[in-house]
């Protein structure tokens, strides 16, 4: 191992009793708690989908408004952004700041595309003629599906938006000339958060969207 490489991987983190940097432990504890948060939201959606299966005397069928091609596209986009994020973390560990910057940029762009798709989807759902899905109604009839759907996917979208802003912060910071391998842990924590929103979508996509086509 070269001296430069060794220096690049030296993160100057203080010793901890667990042997893991405190920031990282904190991030994992947060992600564990966020699991419970999304667990309740997903459960709530599924339960109300089961017990409120009719609207206005007819079976609730939201396939008319779902655009599965668009949602599939945004799923692929989010998966690709996870690859960029993993490469950004890998690059900062190696001390390759230029690569880190561009991988962060790629993640931001893909995250922004995902958010744009979600904004378009929500707007389309609310305004689609004859099939309006609002927070409290579907096709003008009172129904709970919109509430659980928008709260679940909207909360995930909010997480993505927070992640995008966090990444933009790092991207801008990379131009100040202050970024170094000492920031590797912080970028890794940002990466953990980003991958977490990815795995939450991995669950939401089949549970909320694809299962509507199963029966």
């Amino acid at each position: 191992m070269s001296e430069a490489s060794a220096h690049a991987l030296e993160h100057h983190e203080p010793e901890t009793s667990t042997g893991i940097p405190n920031k990282k432990v904190l991030m994992w504890a947060f992600l564990g708690s966020d699991c419970m948060f999304f667990g309740t939201l997903i459960s709530t959606h599924l339960i109300y989908r089961k017990i409120s299966a009719t609207v206005g005397g007819n079976t609730l069928d939201v396939r008319d408004i779902f655009d599965i091609e668009l949602t599939s596209f945004s799923t692929f986009i989010l998966l690709a952004s996870s690859l960029f994020m993993a490469l950004a973390v890998s690059a900062i560990h190696k001390g390759n700041l230029s690569s880190t910057r561009w991988m962060l940029f790629g993640t931001i762009i893909f995250g922004a595309i995902f958010l744009a798709c979600q904004v378009y989807e929500f707007t389309h759902f609310v305004h689609v003629p004859g099939n309006e899905l609002t927070l409290s109604s579907y096709r003008g009839e009172p129904h709970v599906f919109g509430s659980t759907f928008y709260v679940l996917t909207g909360t995930h979208g909010t997480h993505v938006a927070i992640g995008v802003f966090w990444l933009i912060g790092w991207f801008v910071y990379s131009f100040t000339g202050k970024m170094s391998t000492a920031d590797a842990l912080d970028i890794e924590c940002c990466g953990l958060y980003w991958h977490f929103v990815d795995i939450v979508w991995i669950l939401i996509f089949p549970v909320v969207y694809l299962m509507e086509y199963a029966f």
Binding site: M1, C35, I47
Partner: protein
């Protein structure tokens, strides 16, 4: 879990291929998920099973490699799994609570408009109608030849019927299970509301006589039953 080699930079470089391969695998699995929906060649349970397996593989893949748990200390995995396990148990617990939906087997609202009859046995609490007025029996007695609110018992006049305001209705219900039952009138001009927590909570049978402002039928009423998180009603 900490699998650092001699040269960490080289190791990070090797991970590029791991990340790329994993990413391609995730894309392929997502493709399978979408295709299985499009072909529509499988039954619902098969689709759900395949989707569940695909999701678990993707979930574990991202968690293990992208999130570095493969190379990190076990404490990180434990912390994350604690939240995940609680979330999964919460999900199954709530789904279990919904496995036993209540069923309204019988529900009826009947006006008690039987005309008074002579030489008939009445028990305390019986209702009868006489000259467009409604009465409730205050004691068990046998009616005489003509209607009277009093009868002679041991040479003493005793109140046998008491006039009531409103029309008596018998409301009866039979429910499979539930921890709360709520019955209400759907007509604002004919108010009625009754709510109670039955015990035991299975095979519930109930009946109630209530005085209403107007004559009503079953269609004018609603019964709503709650069991755990489940609500059902007769409408």
């Amino acid at each position: 879990m900490s699998g650092h080699s001699e040269d960490p930079v080289l190791e990070e470089s090797k991970r590029f291929f791991t990340f790329f391969n994993l990413s391609m695998l995730l894309v392929a699995i997502t493709g399978i998920e979408i295709v299985i929906i499009y072909v529509r060649a499988f039954d619902g349970p098969v689709i759900i099973t395949v989707l569940s397996i695909c999701s678990v593989i993707k979930f574990v893949g991202v968690m293990t490699w992208f999130m570095h748990l493969r190379w990190d200390k076990i404490l990180n995995t434990v912390l994350f799994l604690m939240g995940l396990v609680i979330a999964v148990f919460t999900f199954f617990a709530v789904m279990y609570m919904l496995d036993n939906p209540p069923e309204v087997k019988e529900f009826s609202v009947t006006p008690l408009e039987q005309d008074w009859e002579a030489k008939t046995e009445y028990v305390k609490g019986d209702y009868t109608k006489h000259n467009d007025s409604y009465y409730v029996a205050e004691i068990a007695h046998q009616s005489g030849d003509t209607f009277s609110t009093q009868i002679m018992l041991d040479n003493e006049p005793v109140n046998s019927w008491k006039k009531v305001e409103g029309i008596p209705h018998q409301i009866s219900w039979k429910v499979s299970t539930g921890d709360m039952i709520e019955i209400n009138s759907l007509k604002p001009g004919n108010p009625f509301f009754h709510q109670y927590h039955p015990y035991p909570e299975d095979n519930i049978e109930g009946s109630k006589i209530s005085l209403l402002a107007e004559s009503a039928s079953t269609e004018d009423f609603r019964i709503k039953v709650r069991s755990e998180a489940f609500w059902v009603e007769n409408q």
